[in-house]
């Protein structure tokens, strides 16, 4: 084996608490004055910005290590506290120690024999079963806390309670136990006894939890910033430390002057407060320390904690170079796998290209054009790693010295790989690799068909673009992240990218059997949708729409499916494609749409992603071109119904109302029998709702039957392009029952919903049934009911989004390391089994049809 370059290997890491001796040892300066700078603006000796603590000013040298700014890592200092204070973060441990040790002799409240046994047991447990170690410690501690008498010296034990945040009181005497007292008790605790509390006395002696000396973080950890006015603004930590030093000095002076005990106590409490908030400024019952402006200080805990803390803000997530973000807009003429990038980004985002003797001249051209002119270059990296910016002045020299081995960071160009992403990145399709297409104007452009996986729309959405900088990254992006590899969703195993809106309506109209067109029109239609091979088109004077559509399909493609709509002159919904020819049925959202797309699924299965994405792009464009050629518009008159039909709808609604009236009457007469498990009131409500729903369906059917199927509104609903039949029924027929939490609307006033109804009225109209239609216009009370449910659903979506977002965060964090192993088990990092078969059926959903394996067609294939 080749000698490994590792010469020091980390065996283990131990986290210890700092002992007072350690703090003193690592301290390079003792801080004694709250002043920061003298009149000349030079750091005061013994102040918080002491030069021995590190340098943050250019030009100054560190008094400890002698290095300059950026070289000096900073050095800790210390303050010796006039009186000891409690460390808030150890408050629970201190409490257990106070309760578990004798107040006289400081031994653990447990006889020696038992203690010895437990210590051994705990030590073993730590080795063998670390996961239950702490449970055991808790049990041992509980046992000691229960003692009322010391087994060693027979002293009676008072019960200690914690008075939040930082004071301990003996319950019996109501006396405070001062930090001095606590410290002196803790000092006497034998090392072995600490083990009973789950503490290793070598790492943390109990008395270290009461601070006598405070470590001061280096200046480099709390740099001050100079404002434009020349004024200095100190870091929050420096402010807090200033408070501590100031109070500490006053406490010293008062003690030395022999001030009355009350004053000293007050100052002591104040010191405790400042030290507490220095560690954590978010403790309940402690008012947070604030700036003069009123905003709370960010002290040590806040620096690390939560979303804006060091871990989640700076370590788990970082800002990136070579990335951009702007508003997005649609461009149906782009390919699915392309992304349109505005020119302004083009001159900023770059790709490193290594100079070889073959591309030397080519790359020189980029340098010649410089950083302003597209396509140019922004930087040249020499073989020694020096990065040089290209400017008008340095252009010439950069071009002259350029030779193989250099790297030129040239502007992005058409065909470069980029990662495209929209937050929230909830699934893997939220970040896909696209090919760059440079375009004018200022927005990022994408094909409307890929909106669905990103969940993007164009009401102001912004998206991010990242440019991979190495060959490895580019290869990975193309192989794993490219759009073509995400056509099928791993969630339900169907096409997630498909035709939308106008593309669906267009293809529906094209493939309907009434569509015929002259040959030359068909050619121009195909040509406009990026098809150059017309061999699929039959050589006739007039061709049908189905034949035009078939020209896009592979010649050996066969498919049997079902459409959503029924073709004209047909009775069934069957769709047949034989040998690349659509022979029967229409293409609609069932076969082309996103989240359904059965035909796309089949295409993908038979020809793979590369073919599918091209065909899908062509079908999409063909649909749009078709609609553009034909023209498509909707009008209010689409929803007009003949008088006879309107009367029919009214009759249906009246009939329902009458039935409901009868129900209510029988209820009041006491004749209505309760259903099993329901009260009479519930039964009535249930029956009324049932009847009204039936009425709504009835009107819906009447509208569906009588609406003009040639009207564009109906075409959209039938093909699945936009809108449902329900929406049509609401516009032309009746809006229907408004429901709140699955119930009819009730309450608001005493026994009624609005003051225009009688108290106790249960009629449909008084409980939110809207008889009118949108086109006919609603009555004021109906309008109000609509507003109630409208507001409710608005509130619901607004409140649900953040809730489900957090839920998802917890879920994904908990499961991020789970992996399907080769034996189909799902295991965690320690190889523990989570699931014995992936999904309990070992099916990779993305390779199945809707999560199911359909074996019949495979058998058929094999037999043939």
């Amino acid at each position: 084996m080749i000698a490994s370059p590792v010469f020091k290997k980390i065996d283990k890491i131990v986290f210890n608490a700092l002992s007072p001796q350690m703090i003193k040892k690592m301290s390079s300066a003792k801080v004694v004055t709250p002043e920061l700078y003298d009149k000349e603006g030079y750091p005061v000796d013994g102040g918080l910005m002491d030069v021995r603590l590190g340098v943050i000013d250019p030009g100054l040298r560190c008094a400890t290590c002698g290095s300059r700014l950026k070289e000096c890592p900073g050095h800790f200092g210390h303050i010796s506290l006039a009186r000891p204070v409690i460390h808030v973060k150890y408050i629970r441990t201190i409490l257990s120690f106070l309760r578990g040790t004798c107040q006289e002799c400081s031994h653990a409240l447990m006889d020696e024999k038992k203690a010895k046994r437990y210590i051994k047991e705990l030590a073993d447990l730590r080795q063998i079963k670390p996961d239950i170690y702490w449970d055991k410690v808790r049990k041992v501690m509980a046992e000691m806390t229960k003692q009322t008498k010391c087994p060693h010296c027979n002293a009676k034990q008072n019960h200690v309670v914690l008075e939040k945040p930082t004071t301990f009181v003996e319950k019996e005497t109501q006396l405070r136990i001062s930090p001095i007292e606590i410290r002196s008790r803790f000092e006497k605790i034998p090392d072995e006894d600490c083990e009973l509390f789950g503490l290793n006395a070598e790492s943390l002696r109990p008395e270290w939890m009461v601070l006598t000396i405070l470590a001061i973080p280096p200046v480099t950890a709390r740099p001050s910033i100079t404002l434009e006015s020349g004024e200095r603004s100190e870091d929050d930590l420096t402010h807090k430390l200033g408070d501590i030093v100031r109070i500490n000095q006053r406490l010293f002076e008062n003690i030395n002057a022999g001030a009355p005990e009350i004053i000293i106590e007050d100052l002591w409490d104040l010191l405790q407060y400042h030290v507490t908030t220095f560690f954590d400024n978010n403790i309940s019952q402690v008012p947070p320390a604030r700036h003069r402006s009123g905003q709370p200080l960010k002290t040590l805990s806040e620096r690390i904690k939560s979303k804006e803390g060091r871990v989640r803000r700076n370590l788990a997530g970082k800002r990136t170079n070579y990335s951009g973000r702007t508003v997005i807009s649609p461009d149906p003429m782009l390919e699915l796998f392309e992304v349109g990038v505005p020119m302004d980004m083009g001159t900023v985002l770059t790709v490193p290209e290594i100079v070889t003797e073959w591309n030397l001249e080519y790359l020189k051209k980029f340098i010649e054009r410089g950083p302003k002119e597209y396509p140019g270059a922004n930087y040249v990296i020499r073989p020694d790693g020096k990065k040089k910016k290209i400017t008008e002045e340095t252009k010439e020299t950069a071009m002259e010295e350029l030779e193989p081995g250099y790297i030129v960071e040239r502007h992005i160009m058409d065909g470069d790989v980029a990662l495209f992403n929209r937050q929230p990145s909830l699934h893997r399709m939220s970040m896909m690799a696209h090919r760059i297409k440079m375009l004018k104007y200022k927005t990022l452009r994408l094909n409307p068909a890929v909106c669905h996986p990103y969940n993007a729309d164009f009401d102001g959405d912004e998206m991010n673009l990242h440019i991979p900088q190495t060959e490895e990254a580019r290869a990975e992006a193309e192989l794993l992240l490219s759009v073509k590899n995400h056509l099928i969703s791993p969630r339900y195993g169907l096409s997630i990218i498909g035709c939308v809106q106008d593309a669906l309506a267009g293809n529906y109209l094209l493939t309907r059997s009434d569509m015929k067109m002259p040959f030359n029109e068909a050619v121009s239609l195909l040509n406009n949708s990026n098809v150059t091979d017309f061999s699929g088109l039959p050589n006739k004077d007039t061709v049908t729409g189905k034949e035009v559509f078939s020209a896009l399909l592979p010649p050996d493609f066969s498919f049997t499916g079902e459409s959503k709509a029924i073709d004209l002159g047909e009775t069934g919904k069957e769709v047949l494609i034989r040998k690349g020819k659509l022979t029967k049925g229409v293409m609609d959202s069932n076969n082309l749409g996103q989240g359904a797309g059965m035909m796309l699924r089949k295409l993908h299965e038979m020809y793979g992603p590369n073919t599918t994405i091209i065909i899908l792009g062509n079908i999409f464009k063909l649909g749009i071109q078709m609609l553009m050629k034909r023209g498509f518009t909707i009008a209010l008159s689409d929803m007009d119904l003949p008088k006879k039909v309107r009367d029919g709808i009214n009759a249906a609604l009246d009939g329902a109302e009458e039935d409901v009236d009868n129900l209510i009457n029988s209820f009041h007469a006491g004749e209505l029998k309760a259903l099993p498990g329901r009260s009479r009131n519930e039964t009535l409500e249930l029956k009324i709702m049932e009847r009204l729903n039936a009425a709504r369906d009835e009107t819906g059917n009447i509208v569906a039957e009588n609406a003009d199927p040639k009207s564009h509104t109906m075409i959209m609903a039938i093909s699945g392009a936009r809108g449902k039949l329900l929406n049509l029924a609401q516009i032309a027929g009746s809006v229907g029952q408004q429901a709140l939490r699955g119930q009819r609307i009730s309450g608001g006033f005493k026994g009624r919903t609005l003051s225009c109804f009688k108290e106790g009225s249960l009629t449909p109209a008084s409980r939110g049934f809207i008889k009118s239609s949108f086109s006919g216009g609603m009555r004021p009370d109906e309008f109000f009911f609509q507003a109630i449910t409208g507001r409710d659903s608005l509130m619901d979506t607004a409140l649900r989004t953040p809730k489900s977002g957090y839920l998802y965060r917890r879920l994904s964090n908990a499961m991020q390391d789970l992996k399907v192993e080769y034996d189909n088990t799902v295991r965690d990092v320690s190889k523990k089994i989570i699931q014995f078969r992936y999904g309990e059926d070992s099916i990779d959903v993305s390779k199945s049809e809707g999560g199911k394996l359909d074996i019949a067609p495979i058998l058929e294939e094999v037999q043939r």
Binding site: K129, I132, D823, T825, R827, K831, K832, I833, I834, F836, R837, G839, E840, D841, I843, G851
Partner: protein
């Protein structure tokens, strides 16, 4: 009143692998006992099997994807 929870419709069927079955199971699957999920020795739904620490309990669950799914747990006392 005592209720037999093993008869409850929500309690999946638990069975204990005997030593022969256990050996075959571990041999066939190459699972290691430490990697299997655990079940408490005191778990109410295995009391009728008279479990001993280290036994493997087979659980027959209804699954929305596979119809029936088998799970295995090792009896543990902690």
């Amino acid at each position: 009143m005592e209720f037999d929870i093993t008869k409850h419709s929500l309690t999946p069927k638990h069975t204990k692998l005997d030593s022969k079955e256990e050996e075959k199971f571990l041999e066939d699957t190459k699972y290691r006992k430490v990697h299997l999920p655990k079940v408490f020795l005191e778990d109410p739904s295995i009391q009728h099997l008279k479990p001993v620490v280290g036994d493997i309990i087979k659980i027959e669950r209804k699954s929305p994807t596979a119809g029936v799914a088998y799970f295995y747990r090792v009896v543990s006392d902690e």
